[in-house]
Amino acid sequence: MKIHYITGLAALLTVAIHVMMRVIVPFSMSLEYENVVANYQNILYALLLESVLVLISIHGFNGLRVMLLELRQNERWEKFVTLFTLIAMIAVIGYGTRTIIIVSGQSL
């Protein structure tokens, strides 16, 4: 649960900044391809996105793991749940990181 509290608080901060970045520009502009790519190519923003990705993945999948562990109590289920949420978390982080790296590396 300590991981849950810490990642929750940290994710709140990073997501708040991520949302603010969207809100300070007009909505339709914020979704235009060039503007989005330009944001990704700012190294600080890319790092922010990566931290949002990691923190939310850990917080979310740990929450799912907590809920699933409460449903059944046998060793096989517990191992399955831990493995499943860990793999899902790594997969989502991996897939999101791939997007961030590719888009931030795209030449202007």
């Binding site: 608080l9 997501v15 993945s57 799912l64 897939y95 999101g96 997007t99 590719i102």
Partner: protein, 153 residues
């Protein structure tokens, strides 16, 4: 208790509420409602998050792939969904902060000598107001989101 010695019989009469115990939030007051909402919004946001990571990966496919994705998501249904996401994330965050305080016994009062009508000191309006603030802020955020998404700039 011969019947209880038979494991199969005892399973039939365990009387555990099971998942039904999680699903009805209305019987035990604000804190139980908050527990239910945290679980529902948490799961909802997890699903949204996975979808969001997939949807933004369309950037890799170039402008055409990105615009095709926008056509799917920038619809009335997409906007309503996003407003729900805004509400869920606001409630989950603000109530989460309240829970961090409450689960470390901040704002719950101190043990004392109970007296009739034996009401619990921890279920007080100080920590409960965190739930109300979270709900109000979520509603306000949803209203703001609606004004941006549906009302234009």
């Amino acid at each position: 208790m011969e019947a209880l010695k038979n494991k199969k019989d005892s399973n039939a009469w365990t009387n555990r509420e099971g998942l039904r115990g999680w699903l009805n939030p209305t019987r035990y007051g604000w804190e139980r409602l908050s527990y239910w909402l945290m679980r529902v919004t948490g799961l909802f946001l997890l699903l949204y998050f996975v979808g969001h990571v997939y949807e933004t990966s369309n950037l890799v496919g170039g402008i055409n792939a990105w615009n095709a994705m926008l056509e799917l998501t920038q619809t009335t249904f997409g906007h309503i969904f996003l407003i729900l996401v805004i509400g869920a994330s606001t409630f989950h965050s603000v109530n989460g902060i309240r829970l961090i305080f409450a689960e470390t016994a901040t704002g719950l009062g101190k043990p004392g000598r109970p007296d009739y009508p034996y009401e619990a000191g921890s279920l007080n309006n100080i920590q409960r107001s965190g739930i109300w603030v979270a709900l109000i802020l979520a509603a306000a955020a949803m209203l703001y989101g609606s004004s941006v998404l549906f009302g234009g700039e």
